[in-house]
C-alpha cells in the first residue's frame, strides 16, 4: 500500500543540502535529513563531526553557506523569527545570562515566547518540581552548578511547549534521576504524533534507547541514516550494537584498536 506523502507543514524539520563553513574550513557538507512527526531523530558523531554546527545553523546561530532549512514548512533562513518560535533549544554549553536568576531568565524567555502568566507559571512550577529546583530559582545563574544550569536550559526549551525540540547533548551534567525524567519526557513528548525532536549525542546507549532513527555524521558528511534495524542490516548484520555500527560507518573501528594499543601496557 502506497504511503501518502506528508504535508510539508506537518514535518518538524527538513534539511536539504545544508553546508556550513567557518572561513575556509568546512564543518558540514551537503547534509540532508528529515525529522518526521512523532520522531526522535538522533544525530550521532565524534567530536568535531559537525553535529553542533548543524544544530547552530538550525537555530539561527550560524548562517549556512548553502542549503535549506525548513521548520514545519517554514524557510528558517528567510523567516527565522517564525521558525525560532516553533523551536525549543538546549545548547551544548550552558551560556546563559549569568547575572540573572533562573526565574528572571525564564520570565524573559516566556515574554519573548509570548506566553501568558498562568500558563508560564503553571509550567515552571511543574518542571521545577520535577527537577527538584527550589531556592535555586532565585539565585544568580553564575552561582549554580552545571547540572542545575542544564535543568534551567531544559525548562527554557520546554516552557512554551514547542512542536520541535533541538537538543545538543541535553543530558550532559544531569544526575541519573534527571536523565531518566528527561528521557521519559521526550518519549511522551513525541507520543502525540505531531511533535519532533532532533537529539545530538555521542552516547550510543542513549541513542539506542530513545531514537527512532539515527543519522551518523563524520567530518561533516552523513555516513548513514535509518532505524537501528536498517543500519544493522546495511553495515554489520546480526545483532551489532549501535556503537559497532557507528565505528564501522565512520571507519574508526581499526583506529580504536590502534589507539588503545598506542597506550601500551598499563603500569604495574
Amino acid at each position: 500500500m502506497a504511503v501518502a506523502p506528508l504535508d510539508p507543514a506537518s514535518i518538524p524539520l527538513t534539511l536539504e543540502g545544508l553546508s556550513v563553513a567557518y572561513g575556509e574550513r568546512s564543518a558540514v557538507e551537503q547534509l540532508s535529513l528529515t525529522v518526521r512527526p512523532g520522531e526522535i531523530y538522533g544525530l550521532l558523531g565524534s567530536n568535531g563531526a559537525g553535529k553542533t554546527s548543524t544544530i547552530k545553523a538550525i537555530v539561527g546561530l550560524v548562517r549556512p553557506v548553502a542549503g535549506e532549512i525548513r521548520v514545519f514548512g517554514l524557510d528558517a533562513l528567510r523567516d527565522s523569527i517564525s521558525a525560532k518560535a516553533r523551536i525549543g533549544y538546549v545548547p551544548e554549553t550552558s551560556m546563559l545570562y549569568e547575572a540573572l536568576t533562573p526565574r528572571e531568565f525564564l520570565e524573559f524567555v516566556a515574554s519573548v515566547r509570548r506566553m501568558d502568566t498562568t500558563t508560564a507559571t503553571r509550567r515552571l512550577q511543574s518542571y521545577a518540581d520535577a527537577f527538584r529546583l527550589g531556592s535555586e530559582l532565585e539565585e544568580p545563574i553564575a552561582t549554580l552548578s552545571n547540572g542545575t544550569r542544564q535543568k534551567v536550559l531544559i525548562i527554557g526549551a520546554l516552557l512554551h511547549a514547542p512542536p520541535l525540540l533541538v537538543l545538543d547533548e541535553p543530558l550532559n551534567s544531569l544526575d541519573p534521576r534527571s536523565v531518566r525524567i528527561m528521557k521519559d519526557v521526550l518519549l511522551r513528548y513525541v507520543a502525540s504524533g505531531d511533535h519532533g525532536v532532533l537529539f545530538s549525542t555521542h552516547t550510543m546507549e542513549v541513542a539506542e534507547q530513545l531514537c527512532q532513527r539515527v543519522g551518523i555524521l563524520d567530518r561533516g558528511v552523513l555516513r548513514g541514516e535509518g532505524t537501528l534495524a536498517v543500519l544493522r542490516q546495511r553495515v554489520a548484520g546480526g545483532d551489532a550494537s549501535l556503537e559497532e555500527i557507528f565505528l564501522r560507518l565512520t571507519e574508526e573501528d581499526v583506529g580504536v584498536r590502534a589507539a588503545v594499543d598506542s597506550f601500551g601496557d598499563p603500569p604495574v
Binding site: 520570565e107 519573548v112 553564575a142
Partner: protein, 555 residues
C-alpha cells in the same frame, strides 16, 4: 618553583583574563572569526589601552596639582590670600591623594568582578604547581590589573611635587603616595569581596533589587570624586582659610590628624617648616607624627591582609548565605521591548559596569540639583543651571546609550536563538536610554520645584527635548545594529568595541544637542518661541531617525 615560574604562569593567566574581559566568551559571546593570535594580541592591546587611559588621567591630575601649587606660589599670591602658603599646598595635595585613591579604587571596582569570574586561578590549581607559586601568581595577577596606573602615581606624584616645591618636598610626598596606593588596592579588594556576596550573588526578588541598586550607588561614589572635588574645592579652601583665621582649635587638630591631609602636609612642611600648621595646634608635630605613624601602620597591616586575601580571591564561595525566604515561581511575561528593558535593568543591578552607566546621569542630576537648590546664585542663573542639568542628562544618556548594546553580547549564543527581532531589542534599549533621561530630569524638576516653584518651563523643556533623545538613541543603536551585523557582535563589547560606541555617539550627541543649541540661540526672543523652535527640530529629528533605525537593517 621560583618567582620566575610564577611570573611566566601569571603571564599566561593574564592573557586569558584579557581575552575574557574583552570578548566575554565565558558569558556566552560568540568568538569573532580570525586567527587566535590576532584575537589575543587585540585583547592585550585593549586592556593596555584601558590602563593607559586611566594612567594619563592620573598623570594629568598630578601635573595639574603641581601646576596649581606652582602658579599660586610664583604668579598670584593674592588669589588665596586667606590661606597661608603651606596650608594651600597641603590642601592641593590632599585633593591629589584623594583623587588618586578614588580613581585607583574605581579601576579596581571595574576589573575585580572580571578577575573573580574568570576562574583563571582555579584552572591552575589541579596542575602540579605548589601552593606558594599559586599564591605568587595570584598576587602578580592582582598587581598587573593596576600596574601602569600605580606606576604613574608612584613616579609622577613625587616628580610633580618636587617640581612645584623642590626635591626634598618631592621625597616627602613619597610616604603618602605609597600609603595611598596601598589603601586603594586594599579598598578595591575589600569592596570586590563585598560586591561578590551582596550584589553579584544576591538572590532575586523586588526588595533585594532595591537593596542591590542602593549598594551600587555606594559603589559609584569613587567615580564622583573628581566631580565632587572640583565642586567642593572652593568651599574646602574657604574652610581652610576660616580655620587658619580662627587660630588653634579642635577642628584644626582634627584636620591635621585626618587622612590624607596628614600625609599631604609632609611635603609642605619639608618645603616651609611646621609654621603654617602651627596655626591649627601648638602640638602639631606630635599630632602629625602620631597620625602618620598610625596610618602607616594601617598600611602595613593592609599589605599583610592583601597578601592573604588575594590568594583566596578566586576561591571564595559566590553563593550568598542561606536565605530561607519563600521562593517565587511566578512568571509574569511582558511585551518584547519591556522584557528587554527589564532584563537589562536586572543584569545591570548585578554588574557594576552597566549600573555605572545607568546611574551616572541620575547621580549627576542629583548633584547638580543639590547645587541648584543650595546655591546662593540669583534665581535666573540657578534656573539656567537647572536647564543645563537637563541638557547634561540628555547628553549623558545619549552618550552612554550605545554601551547598553554590549549587554547583548552576554549569552549571545542563546539569545539569538529566541524569536526576538533586532527591532524589539532596539526598542528595549531606546526605552532604557529614555528612562535614564526621564528619571534624571524628574530629579532636577524636584529640586527646581523646591527652590523656584515654577516647574512649567522645566517640564516643557524636558518634554520638548524627549523626541530628540529618542531620535538620537534610534540613530545610535540603528548604526550599531548594522555594524554588528556586518562585523560581528564583539564590536559592541564595552572593551573591544569602545571606539564603535564612541563613533555612533557622535551623531547621537549632535541630534540631542541641536535642539538645545537652537533654544539658547532663540531664547532672547522669548522662551515660548525658543521652546517652539526646539520642539519643531526635536520632532523632525525623531521623524527622520525612526524609519532609518527601524528599517530593513534592524528587522
Amino acid at each position: 618553583m621560583s618567582w620566575r615560574e610564577a611570573r611566566r604562569l601569571s603571564d599566561v593567566a593574564f592573557t586569558e583574563l584579557s581575552l575574557q574581559a574583552v570578548y566575554a566568551f565565558r558569558q556566552g559571546n560568540v568568538i569573532p572569526a580570525g586567527p587566535s593570535k590576532n584575537l589575543v594580541a587585540r585583547a592585550r592591546r585593549r586592556v593596555f589601552q584601558s590602563k593607559f587611559v586611566i594612567s594619563v588621567v592620573l598623570g594629568l591630575i598630578a601635573l595639574g596639582a603641581a601646576g596649581l601649587i606652582h602658579l599660586k606660589v610664583v604668579t598670584d599670591p593674592s588669589t588665596f590670600a586667606a590661606v597661608p602658603a603651606g596650608l594651600f599646598e597641603s590642601g592641593v595635595l590632599t585633593g591629589l591623594f584623594s583623587l588618586d585613591i578614588a580613581l585607583l579604587w574605581w579601576t579596581g571596582v571595574q576589573v575585580i568582578p572580571t578577575l573573580i569570574s574568570s576562574g583563571v586561578l582555579p584552572a591552575l590549581e589541579p596542575l602540579p604547581i605548589d601552593r606558594r607559586t599559586l599564591h605568587q601568581v595570584a598576587g602578580i595577577l592582582y598587581l598587573r590589573l593596576f600596574d601602569l596606573p600605580v606606576l604613574t602615581i608612584l613616579v609622577l606624584t613625587p616628580l610633580a611635587v618636587g617640581f612645584a616645591l623642590g626635591p626634598v618636598a618631592g621625597l616627602a610626598s613619597l610616604p603618602g603616595t605609597v600609603v595611598v596606593v596601598v589603601y586603594a588596592l586594599a579598598l578595591s579588594l575589600l569592596t570586590g569581596r563585598f560586591f561578590l556576596r551582596q550584589v553579584q550573588g544576591s538572590r532575586g526578588g523586588g526588595g533585594r533589587t532595591v537593596v542591590r541598586w542602593a549598594y551600587l550607588v555606594l559603589w559609584l561614589v569613587p567615580a564622583f570624586a573628581l566631580f565632587g572635588f572640583i565642586t567642593a574645592a572652593p568651599q574646602f579652601f574657604r574652610s581652610l582659610g576660616d580655620l587658619a583665621a580662627q587660630g588653634p582649635s579642635f577642628d584644626g587638630t582634627l584636620l591635621v590628624a585626618a587622612f590624607p591631609f596628614s600625609f599631604a602636609a609632609l611635603p609642605a612642611l619639608a618645603a616651609g617648616g611646621t609654621e603654617p600648621l602651627a596655626i591649627f595646634s601648638p602640638t602639631v608635630d606630635l599630632v602629625l607624627g602620631v597620625s602618620v605613624s598610625l596610618y602607616a601602620a594601617l598600611a602595613v597591616w593592609s599589605i599583610v591582609w592583601l597578601a592573604g586575601a588575594v590568594r583566596n580571591l578566586q576561591f571564595l564561595p559566590t553563593r550568598p548565605p542561606v536565605d530561607l525566604a519563600p521562593v517565587s515561581s511566578v512568571l509574569r511575561p511582558t511585551g518584547f521591548a519591556r522584557a528587554v528593558l527589564v532584563k537589562d535593568l536586572r543584569i545591570a543591578s548585578r554588574t557594576p559596569g552597566y549600573a555605572f552607566l545607568i546611574l551616572l546621569p541620575i547621580l549627576d542630576a542629583v548633584a547638580i540639583g543639590l547645587l541648584t537648590y543650595a546655591s546662593p546664585l540669583p534665581d535666573a542663573l540657578a534656573a539656567s543651571l537647572a536647564l543645563a542639568a537637563v541638557t547634561t542628562a540628555a547628553l549623558l544618556a545619549t552618550f552612554f546609550g550605545p554601551a547598553f548594546f554590549a549587554i547583548e553580547v552576554l549569552a549571545y549564543s542563546y539569545g539569538r536563538t529566541l524569536p526576538l527581532s533586532n527591532r524589539s531589542v532596539l526598542l528595549g534599549k531606546v526605552a532604557l536610554i529614555c528612562l535614564m533621561y526621564v528619571v534624571a530630569s524628574i530629579v532636577i524638576v524636584g529640586f527646581t520645584i523646591a527652590r523656584f516653584f515654577q516647574p512649567v518651563i522645566f517640564v516643557a523643556f524636558i518634554l520638548v527635548e524627549l523626541p530628540a533623545v529618542l531620535g538620537a538613541a534610534f540613530v545610535e543603536l540603528g548604526l550599531l545594529f548594522r555594524w554588528a551585523r556586518r562585523r560581528g557582535l564583539a564590536i559592541t563589547n564595552l572593551y573591544s568595541g569602545a571606539w564603535f560606541a564612541i563613533a555612533v555617539s557622535i551623531p547621537g550627541l549632535i541630534l540631542a544637542g541641536l535642539p538645545v543649541l537652537l533654544f539658547e540661540l532663540t531664547r532672547s526672543s522669548g522662551t515660548e518661541l525658543a521652546l517652539g523652535v526646539m520642539a519643531l527640530v526635536a520632532v523632525a529629528e525623531l521623524a527622520i531617525a525612526t524609519p532609518v533605525a527601524l528599517g530593513r537593517g534592524a528587522s
